[in-house]
Amino acid sequence: MAAKKKVTKKVAKKVAKKKATAKESAQAASMRRAARAEVDQARADLRKVALDSIQEVATEVYKTGNAGGLPQMTMPQRNLANVTYDPKRGYFEMKGNLKTRTLDVNSVKTFAQTLRLMSLAKEMVSDEDFATKREAYYVSKNWGDAKFNEQRESDTVLDDIEGMFSIKDVTRETLRFVPEEHGGSVVGALTVIDRDPETLEEIRSDCAAMGSGAYTVPSSVDHLGFETTAKFVIAIETGGMFQRLNHHRYWRTANCILVEMGGVPTRATRRFVRRLADDLKLPIYAFVDCDPYGVCNIYRTLKVGSGSSAHVNRKFCVPTATFLGVTPDDIEEFGLMDATHPLLPVDIKRAKDALKNDPFFQAHPKWKKALNKMLKMGVRAEQQAFAKWGLNFVIEEYLPRKLRETKKFLP
């Protein structure tokens, strides 16, 4: 009896378990349905906005043209002269200088190409497809006379279209043009929650469980969720330094997240880091070469965005980021003088140009001082220069020492 009871109990338990599983799976299914509906709705909304905007621009051109006028297209100017920087707001903002392209003999080719790329965008939005910049360039090869001769030309037109639609709050991603470049690599105490594009099933990627590899930032990051125990994020310029820190599991020792930027960070990487800063409230430290390119291009773009993408800077930069190193002071403090290279004429030009024209450096006296010091020293130092004191000097000495005084980081 007892045995029987036991058996029944077991069965009952099993049934209960089964019931629970069924209940769970039913719950999951309804959640998935809800998620799918939500995603579908969001997508449909975006799609409508995009299609309406394209329609609106084209109709305007058509109407003006039919009335015997010369059609115009208006877009923001994309350069440093058209941005302002307020340290309190934290990123480059567009001043609102617009450029108007009127149809004439000089602009007719660009005009035609813009309309044809808009037509491509319309098709992709309707079909839920996408094209990389390179693919868009190849699509034009079927346009006869109006084709692009180099990808540089199609990129410029795409940027113009993006600018034109940014006024209507439609992003390049919504128009289904995706960047070619993949995002940076990520390792450390971070779990990224993504969805399967087909089944919409949740996928969790543990960035501490990537072995000797790393998690790669996808081209679109706004749908990602995060879980972390880390204390801060280091954004690293070079793949070499990232590998060293990853190999020796520095992220475990220091309890942090490491992001490899690979030169000037792509938009996706910038947005990813920005979300780490916003959602997880983590401090972001940049670790780049001590040269004008590392400071004026890589770090500046990471922190406040760039002049040419001023219309998207609001979301695609990390205003809370600070500068860990390598600073000109570090060169002296860590005895790197004999591990430096002289600044090249292009470096000097870049630094002087930044001091003169870049609103970011003009707003920060500390940076002015640092850049002037770099110019005065006339040398640049790479992240790898610490290897002079031993391969792992950077892990054992440099980073711990710097991280003890994060308040002193350059803004």
Partner: protein
């Protein structure tokens, strides 16, 4: 030694120095012979107010023997004068007259006869008929030591085919070759500067039809007046000679009668400056105070000589002549007012024919649309007058309507062309060189006395007054050319820009059709409307 001294006749001198008269080599001899005869024919016709019709025939007899025939419809020559005109050097009507004519010294045609006689042994045959006389045929031999003609034949020609005119026929040693400085070149260039004359030219080429250059103008150029010398143009030696031979008894009268532009007041001033008496005997002054008189003349302000003695070709005729013989896109002509060098009045005229490089011409219509027009080809046989776009421009030099065919580099005209800044006028030019371009520049100097550098009449001496006038004329015509070339370039670049419209505008239509889903017709309408709006906002 003393017994070896004797007189040298001009004919003997020529026999030894034939290059001075343009008979340096067989090829040039052929040209010079024809040139001298044609010049005389044109002069004679114009003098008599007849529209010239000139026949030039060249027949090859042997490898280096040619028979040359030049026949004109001029007034003819009085029988008694024929032997002297064609058989005596330095005999003529033009040397002493201060009137514009092609010939000057009276050497040319008799030199050609002498050359023929020296190279082939045969003298010239001349047939001439005046209106109210009978045609006579002479054959002449020249006695070169005595500079005298010897008549070997003198026949009457009963039925000559012309009412009046002259035919000159001679056999000479020569060589025929086409190209620059050839007989063909000469005839063509002469046709350019004499659009009132008709030329029929038979080249010594088998089975080639005679070439006819029709006259396009039907009036004979105005006959130039004869003038007395201007005081500034007379040198001391000549002044002394004039003082010796004059019929005047008083110095004041001498000055007023023998020179132009000298009235009682000017004569008085000159005489006062020379510290002479108005009633002095001219022949006495010739011995003693001529130098003072000469200086006084130079010091006195005397107005310029009258210009009625000049007969310029005229802007219309130059344009006509160039258009007749050059297939160009643009013609510019400039005429300077008469000027004076060393007391000789002269006038400079310039014409430029310019052809657009390439095969197509762009025309702009009233509505501002630009169209491509194919050039007509082969209508003219003028490849030789307009060079290619990468060659130096052709320079057509004329003195009193006579083309100058050789010694271009030593000519004052060339110097003037080179020292003009052609870059300002749309032609490329390297330093110290002729401008480059598919163009011909015509320069004509009309003067009672053209300062040739040699008796062969091939190049003009670079007097400053002449250079200055030529340059000014070139600049004036150049400015017109520059305006045209710049406009041409503007039209070409505008045409290229507008071609973008046709190339890319359809794609604007396609893009809009794809986005808005409009019909093909609506698309076509839009593209046409846009095309109109875009064209109408362009300016040239």
């Amino acid at each position: 030694m003393a017994d070896k001294q004797r007189e040298i006749s001009v004919s003997e001198f020529f026999a030894k120095n034939r290059h001075l008269l343009g008979f340096d080599n067989p090829r040039k001899a052929l040209l010079t012979t024809i040139k001298e005869a044609v010049d005389n024919s044109l002069d004679a016709c114009e003098e008599a107010g007849i529209l010239p019709e000139i026949l030039v025939e060249v027949h090859q007899l042997e490898e280096d023997r040619f028979r040359v025939v030049i026949e004109d419809n001029g007034p003819g020559i009085v029988k008694a004068q024929v032997p002297n005109i064609f058989g005596k050097l330095l005999y003529g009507s033009k040397f002493h007259s201060r009137r514009q004519s092609r010939g000057q010294q009276g050497i040319g045609i008799s030199a050609a006869g002498l050359y023929g006689q020296m190279t082939t042994g045969k003298g010239p045959i001349i047939v001439s008929k005046i209106k109210r006389g009978k045609a006579h045929c002479f054959q002449i031999q020249m006695d070169s030591t005595k500079n005298k003609p010897v008549i070997t034949r003198d026949d009457e020609v009963p039925d000559w085919h012309l009412k009046h005119g002259t035919r000159f026929e001679i056999t000479i040693e020569a060589r025929y070759q086409r190209g620059k400085g050839s007989v063909d070149d000469y005839i063509k260039q002469t046709a350019v500067s004499n659009p009132h004359a008709k030329f029929t030219y038979q080249a010594p080429v088998d089975k080639e039809e005679p070439r006819v250059y029709e006259a396009t103008v039907t009036d004979v150029p105005d006959r130039a007046d004869e003038i007395k010398p201007h005081p500034y143009g007379v040198e001391l030696g000549e002044l002394m000679k004039m003082l010796r031979v004059t019929n005047s008894r008083w110095l004041s009268g001498f000055l007023q009668e023998e020179f132009c532009r000298v009235g009682p007041k000017v004569a008085k001033e000159i005489i006062a400056k020379a510290k002479l008496g108005e009633r002095s005997y001219p022949s006495r002054i010739a011995r003693e105070e001529a130098d003072a008189l000469y200086r006084a003349i130079q010091d006195t302000k005397i107005s310029s000589p009258p210009t009625t003695c000049l007969s310029p070709i005229g802007e219309d005729r130059i344009r006509e002549g160039l258009m007749k013989e050059c297939d160009a896109d643009f013609y510019a002509v400039a005429t300077r007012p008469p000027a004076v060098y060393r007391g000789n009045p002269f006038q400079i005229e310039v014409g430029i024919a310019w052809s657009k490089p390439g095969d197509d011409r762009l025309d702009v219509d009233d509505k501002g649309r630009i169209r491509k027009v194919k050039k007509k080809k082969g209508a003219f046989d003028t490849e030789d007058l307009l060079g290619n776009a990468d060659e130096p421009v052709r320079l057509l030099r004329y003195a009193n309507r006579v083309p100058l065919l050789s010694q271009q580099s030593g000519c004052g005209f060339t110097k003037a062309v080179i020292s003009t800044a052609w870059k300002n006028y749309g032609l490329s030019q390297s330093k110290g060189a002729m401008p480059v371009g598919s163009a011909a520049i015509l320069i004509h100097m009309a003067s009672v006395w053209v300062p040739f550098t040699s008796e062969a009449k091939e190049a003009i001496a670079p007097y400053n007054e002449i250079l200055k006038e030529v340059k000014l004329a070139l600049q004036e015509a150049g400015r017109k050319l520059g305006v045209h070339i710049r406009k041409n370039k503007r039209v070409a670049s505008e045409f290229e820009k507008r071609s973008y419209i046709e190339k890319y505008l359809p794609h604007v239509g396609i893009g809009l059709q794809e986005i808005l889903g409009i019909s093909n017709e609506e698309r076509e309408d839009l593209v046409n409307t846009l095309h109109e709006s875009m064209e109408s906002t362009r300016k040239i």
